[in-house]
Symmetry: C2
Subunit: 250 residues, 2 copies
């Protein structure tokens, strides 16, 4: 784990687990949501991986990512069916045991009893939690997520993932927020590339990106400047606007 309490920058990765994303059957909606959430709370998302429901693939990805980033969010693979192997994979990645967790069972049992549903072997799988993990509340369908070390294991269904992400957020250490300013131009990015590259050199610590689109069938460009330092960001934005104005682009 790359955690130190004093660090200003807190980083994360997302690991999406599921054959259905790789086959195209399901279009992922969680990556963009977690990206926005991380940006909003002051965590920098640095990498995403999508892997199939294969334990050894999940183990390799979890271990690569948790060694490198402050947090790893996993989505998917914690349901009741045999293709839900994420909890086992997390336990294997950390080298800890996994079994029915009394806390998770205490949540699931009354939920199914109230509904007159049997606590099948499959449903019991959702109470299997790696040893040492903290549970993460699921206010929609009860079966919990969990956090083990710096790995946060969430459901794959977007609305369930979202309530779990909200539930775990107060437990996360956050860093300086990344501020960003966008400048919209009615010009193709090729026209402003040289000015923009020169400006990047003048402010090497401000991240500057250019995003072309076609608007009303004409090429337009959005320039995005990002920094954790609001004053420096404002200075870089004003300086760039002045240069673009001088060249007739603003």
């Amino acid at each position: 784990m790359a955690q130190t309490e004093e660090k200003d920058i807190v980083t994360a990765a997302v690991l999406v687990i599921g054959d259905e994303i790789l086959s195209g059957r399901t279009k992922d909606k969680n990556i963009g949501y977690i990206a926005d959430h991380c940006t909003a709370i002051g965590i920098q998302l640095r990498e995403v991986r999508i892997v199939p429901d294969v334990i050894d693939e999940i183990v390799a990805a979890v271990n690569a990512l948790r060694a490198r980033y402050d947090y790893v969010f996993t989505t998917g693979g914690i349901g009741p069916t045999h293709d839900d192997v994420t909890a086992d994979a997390i336990a294997k990645a950390f080298g800890v045991r996994i079994d029915i967790d009394p806390r998770a069972l205490a949540l699931l049992k009354p939920y199914y009893e109230r509904r007159g549903l049997e606590l099948t072997e499959g449903r019991l799988r959702m109470a299997r939690i790696p040893e040492g993990a903290e549970l993460i509340e699921n206010s929609i369908s009860v079966a919990p997520g969990f956090m083990l070390g710096n790995v946060i294991t969430l459901a794959g269904i977007p609305n369930v993932m979202q309530v779990m992400l909200d539930a775990v957020t107060p437990r996360l250490r956050t860093g300086k927020k990344m501020h960003s300013v966008a400048i919209d131009l009615q010009a193709p990015e090729g026209a402003i590339a040289d000015v923009f590259a020169e400006h990047q050199k003048a402010y090497p610590t401000v991240s500057m990106g250019s995003y072309p689109t076609f608007r009303d069938n004409r090429p337009s460009t959005q320039l995005v400047l990002r920094s954790t330092e609001p004053d420096l960001l404002a200075e870089a934005v004003e300086g760039l606007k002045a240069k673009l104005s001088a060249k007739g682009f603003l």
Copy 2:
């Protein structure tokens, strides 16, 4: 490269390159599209990664993925601005030189001349192609993608990425197509998990996944069975339907 001409199974990975995806500014639309395309033409997408516009991160991901899969599709980072570093990263990953490519220049020059636009230093960047690469046609905005070894470098803008993907597809080796059958159930997946797990054991080579949703506020489940062998798949589907019927789920 894991390529052999005789192989029935052809695999691929996608590498999405761009700070804007990781920050949440842009929601990726390419992964799902390429996943569908691969499934349709007989290539199995096995892994996806998203990395920032940082050369060494791209190099590490390209080299990890190209060693492991038959093809790697990259998206993003081949425009005219300084944050477009994908071509340089691919050259570095392969250890080859990169410079203005006469074939690419011959495409770009008349395009800009016809529009009365200057061939700026930025626009010239889009003619920089790693040594030894084949160009991939861009029928929308001319600046080409390229294919070097088993790495296919495409634009990030979805409609441009899509025409490039169509252009390169005839050059790709494809394998057996993955066939899939979906079974929709008006039951929560927890109810069918045990039957489903037992059926998976009977057909270990047929991939079986369960995908829960809430439909009309009631939990429902889609079971998806996938195989490259249509006869085996049909048998597994019929067998499962019989078991589900016997238990009253169908």
